[in-house]
Each structure stands twice: as structure tokens, then as C-alpha cells.
Amino acid sequence: MASAPHTPPTQPQLHSRWLFPPFPTSQLPTVSPSPMEEETYLELYLDQCSTQDALTPSRSPLLSPAVPYDVDMLTSSNPETAFNPQLEEVTETYGSFSAVDLSLLPDELSQENKDQTVIRSKNEIEENCKNQSWQTRLPLSSRMDTGLALNSSSGSSSHSRLHPADGNSAQSSPEKPHSLPLASITPMTPMAPISECSGIVPQLQNIVSTVNLACKLDLKKIALHAKNAEYNPKRFAAVIMRIREPRTTALIFSSGKMVCTGAKSEEQSRLAARKYARVVQKLGFPARFLDFTIQNMVASCDVRFPISLEGLVLTHQQFSSYEPELFPGLIYRMVKPRIVLLIFVSGKVVLTGAKKRSDIYEAFENIYPILKGFKKA
């Protein structure tokens, strides 16, 4: 990487990207993602550059969610595991995210900061999202050489995985430094992290999903022949089966419907459900795999400061219920998105009732500034 002043790999690379943004109005926040994601986010950013160059340099392109840099991304394995298997799935469009972002924009911030906030808040929401909507914006154009240093060495493998047809990124990196439009760029100083963004990612704890095997099942036969299956018709009219990888439990009903619980991600839930379906298939039933739907997702996280629940229940009466004699947590019913949050004094937050991962992230981003307002000194 022969980019003059800010050469070497990973993180400083990103700084260099700041200092030479392709257009004056964009700011890039400090990020420190793991190398692999970094490349993908890089792709996205470059993609954004290409589209933005096509548009007039105005504010609005920034709102298009194409800059999923991770702000303070915690080294959690979740994003990576969630990330990889879902590369093929494009489930959501951009539209929903723009709506979210606008609602998070604080009014008093300066324009600069506003952009940062927008980008950062998008990042928070998108960093682990399973929707790979950015993939629809591939292939990247040749505008790669707009002044970004690419860490092609560390990223080439991921490059090839994600963008098999795209060789531009690797190629353009050597020449990049030379094509920097330095004259038009005012160097910006690195921004401190904006306090509005939480930097905390809720971790999924449990996913409940259902699927229709579309055939009548003989529960007794299943219980007799399958390993790890319980069946007690007097207690409950379903077979309870468990598998170890992914560690899940399934309730299989004679109608052919099945409930799968215990998985820690959407993909794992689907995989587990397929495994159960295969078990049933091997026992001789013509099992299919119809209408797999995620019914409920539970996530938890820790804001790491004590919260004054008395204050919160007083000011947000229409959303919260708090009966400490019954349950130590405050139950907050968020309307948009429709999520129930359990907020504890210690700062732990449990989110439940979600059907999509993005709902959870959105709900947490909504509640975080509220919780900060009730931080117990």
C-alpha cells in the first residue's frame, strides 16, 4: 500500500479514507471493524461513492444506507457468523432504514455532525443486519480510485467471496494514492464518537420459529424410533425432540406443524428446523419444509450504567409498567417497532417480541437515549 502519508493496513487506512473523502460533505467516522467486515463495508462505501458521484453532491445521498461502517464495533463473533451465512439472502430494501435514520436525527447537531450521526446510526442498525441489501448494488464501479486506500491484501479473500466478478478493488489500490483529488478536499480532523449512538449491539438469545412439514405424522412412531425424543400423550400432544447442534428443542405435532426454539440466530433456527425435518423424513414421512417463519426473537444487552426506574416509569407512563414486588424489571412496551423491553436497575435490557432482527436494533437505538437520560449517578 503505497499511499503516501497514511499508509499501512487496516485501521489507519480508514483514517486515510476520512482525510480524503471523495466529496466535501461526507464524513466517515472512526471505525475499527475486523478485517473481513471491513472489506465488505469498504465495498459498500465505495459503492456509495460511485452512486454519489453520479448524483449531485447534496446531503441526501448520505441518507442512502450504503455506509455500514461499524462504530466502535465490539469484537463479537456474532456479526461474523450472522454475516457469512446470509450473504445470499437479500431480504430487505433500503427504504426501511432511511425511515429509521431520519427519526434518529437530533435537531441541534451541526450539519457535519448530523451526517456523522446519520452514518453512525445507520451503522449501529445495519452492522449485524442479515439483509445484505448492499449486495444489490454490486458490482462496484470503477470509481474505486477515488482516494481510498484499500487493504487488498487482507481483504482479497473476502473480496473474492463477496464479489467474484469484481477485481477492481484489488487493482485500483496501488494506483489509488496517485489519483487523489487532493486539491478539492479539505482535510478533516478525526471526529470523536458521537454520544447519541450506543455502540452496543443486543445479542440474540433465543429464536422461536415454526414450520409446516405438510403431512400427518404418527407421533408414537417418531418417539419410538428417534433419538432424543419425548412423547407423553397424557401430558402434551406433541413430540419433544432435541438436537445438539445447533442446540435447540422442537415440538412436533401430529398435524405436521413444528415449533423450533432455542436457536441463537435466524440461520441457526432454519438449519435446526431443517435437521428436524430430515429426521422426520428419514423415518418415512413425506415431510416438506413449508412456511418457515420466525415467530419471536429475544435479545439482551447491557448499557452498563444503573438506571432510575422510578423516574422512567413516571415520565413514560403510557408505555411502562413497573411493579417491583412482582417483577424486578420495568416492562416497556414500545409502539414503533412493536417490541417489549424489560429494563432492569443494573442496566441490563432484554428485548422480546421481535419478528425481525432489525426491529431489535431499532428498538434498542430508540431506548438508549431515553435510558441515558435516567442514568443513576
Binding site: A238, T249, T261, V298, G311
Partner: protein
């Protein structure tokens, strides 16, 4: 309904004779509860003992009346319906009870969804449990409602002023605490009679009753006990506030004589060298609060004694 007209004072004297044999005491828990409801950091032991007596007497009376009601309808256990029936006169308190029951249902629904083991347990136990308390309440109120006003309570969304005041008081109390004190405060807020189920049952001497309360009825009783303590603290705080004569208060000359007597007795004990904690609620406050609560003042009060129920005024209902 026959009742022993037991005022708390006489109950105190009579039960103090009994209490020497009584091994179960909630005094320590009550002290924590009173702190969480607005009393000082360390409520007085004497106050807690007095509160325990009041609550005990009232609950025993309530249980007896509930047993009579259930006998009337020929049931074998005291159930939630009997207690709801006793509370039918006071709409606000009934509404608060209903909200509590619904919250209990809602909370178990949510907590079940979170833990997959809970989910299985619930399915296995034959799930007709969703919103069971709400169903019980709705069905029963439906059956006794003549004018439609009881059922209207389900849709009612008025703000519960008493609860609002309690929330505000708690918020004021916690505003000045640091996080360690706040953690202690939260711990004491978690205390309730329902957590100590078997001790609570023994305390009420349910074992020796002919008709015993069932599970939901016990939940409601625990809630009513907690409500009684909360009401007592609310009223005692009001009394204490009244006792402080404010300059320019036009009615300070109209404070009742009994009031001043208690106030003076408190002062005299202080003069005798007993250190009275200035912040904590004194037994005299509690006594005055109960006296005022039971004292029916009104234009027709000299004439209504024949019709008045011969019994104590229940704080919780």
C-alpha cells in the same frame, strides 16, 4: 356480617397478649417495605410492630368475611371471586386490584416467551393459563354487575391518583440517592408478601380455617396486605405533614384534640430520653391515621350509626 368491632388499638392490646405465643413475625420485612414506600431509611421497630398488628387484624377480618361469602355461595374454597365481591364498593381500589392481576398475567406471558424452558413447562402443564386472572375477574364482575359500572372499569383509563402519588414520592426519594443506596432501595422494593407464601399463610393461620383460600385468592390477599401497608404509610406521612404547624396556616387552631394528645405523648417520650428518630414514622402517626380513616365524618353521621357496618374500615378495600 358479624364482626368484632376491633379497632387497631384494642387489637394491639389484645393481640399483644397473643403475640407472645406467635412465632411468625413480619416485622423485619415490614421495616424494609415501609422504607420502600416512603418512610425513612431505618423505620422504627415500634412502628413496624404496630403496622404488623393492624395489617394482621384487618386481614384476618377480611378472611373471615370472605369465608362467609363463599359459604353463602356454597363453595369449598375461598376464591378470587369472594375477595372481589368484598371489594365491590370501592371502585378505585378494585381497579387497582384488577390492574395488578392483569399485570401478573402479562408478566408471566412475557417471561414465558423469553425462556424456552418456561415455554415448554407451560405447554406441558396444559396451557389454559394465559390471562387466567383476567378471565376470572371479567367473568365474575360480569355476573354481579347490575348497573354496568363495574364492567366499565375494564375500559377505564383514568390515572390512579394514589398510585401516581406513590410513584412521584418514590422518584423524589430516589433522586437524592447514590447508586449504592439506590440498589438497596430497589432490593427493598422487591419485598412482598407473595414471595413468602408459606410464611404468609401461617401468619394468617389459614391452616385452622374451615374454608381455605386457593392460589389466586392467596395472591390477592398478599397484594391486599401490601396495599394496606402502603395505605398506612401514605396516611401516616400525611398526618406527619399536618403535624408540622406551618406559619400562616389558617386552620392550625382547628387541629383535633386527640391529634395533639398523640403529638404530645410522642414529645413526652422524647423528653424522657427515648431517642425519637425525627425522620421515621412514629406509632402515633399510624394510630392517628387509622383513627381518621375509620372516622366517618359527614352531615348525617350522627344518624347513620345504625346502618353502618359494625366493623373496622378496611384500609385495603
Amino acid at each position: 356480617m358479624n364482626n368484632t368491632a376491633a379497632s387497631p388499638m384494642s387489637a394491639a392490646t389484645s393481640s399483644s397478649g397473643r403475640s407472645t405465643g406467635k412465632s411468625i413475625s413480619f416485622t423485619a420485612e415490614l421495616q424494609s417495605m415501609m422504607f420502600s414506600l416512603g418512610d425513612a431509611r431505618r423505620p422504627l421497630h415500634e412502628t413496624a410492630v404496630l403496622v404488623e398488628d393492624v395489617v394482621h387484624t384487618q386481614l384476618i377480618n377480611l378472611l373471615q368475611q370472605a369465608a362467609e361469602v363463599s359459604q353463602l355461595r356454597g363453595a369449598r374454597v375461598i376464591s378470587a371471586e369472594d375477595l372481589l365481591f368484598l371489594m365491590r364498593k370501592d371502585k378505585k381500589k378494585l381497579r387497582r386490584l384488577l390492574k395488578y392481576m392483569f399485570f401478573r398475567d402479562y408478566k408471566s406471558k412475557i417471561v414465558k416467551g423469553i425462556d424456552e424452558d418456561d415455554l415448554l413447562e407451560d405447554k406441558l402443564s396444559g396451557s389454559n393459563n394465559v390471562n387466567k386472572r383476567q378471565k376470572i375477574a371479567q367473568d365474575f364482575l360480569n355476573s354481579i354487575d347490575q348497573t354496568g359500572e363495574l364492567l366499565a372499569m375494564f375500559e377505564d383509563d383514568e390515572i390512579d391518583e394514589v398510585k401516581q402519588e406513590r410513584m412521584e414520592r418514590a422518584e423524589r426519594q430516589t433522586r437524592v440517592m447514590d447508586s449504592a443506596q439506590y440498589a438497596e432501595f430497589c432490593e427493598s422494593r422487591h419485598l412482598s408478601f407473595s414471595k413468602k407464601g408459606s410464611k404468609f399463610r401461617d401468619w394468617l393461620d389459614c391452616g385452622s380455617m374451615e374454608i381455605k383460600p386457593n392460589v389466586v385468592a392467596m395472591e390477592i390477599l398478599a397484594y391486599l396486605a401490601y396495599e394496606t401497608v402502603a395505605q398506612l404509610v401514605d396516611l401516616a406521612l400525611l398526618v406527619r405533614q399536618d403535624m408540622v404547624t406551618k406559619a400562616g396556616d389558617p386552620f392550625s387552631h382547628a387541629i383535633s384534640a386527640t391529634f395533639i394528645q398523640y403529638h404530645n405523648s410522642a414529645e413526652s417520650t422524647a423528653a424522657c430520653g427515648v431517642e425519637a428518630h425525627s425522620d421515621a414514622i412514629q406509632p402515633s402517626h399510624i394510630r392517628e391515621a387509622v383513627r381518621r380513616y375509620g372516622h366517618k365524618i359527614g352531615p348525617l353521621s350522627p344518624f347513620t350509626s345504625a346502618y353502618r357496618r359494625n366493623g373496622m374500615a378496611f384500609l385495603a378495600c
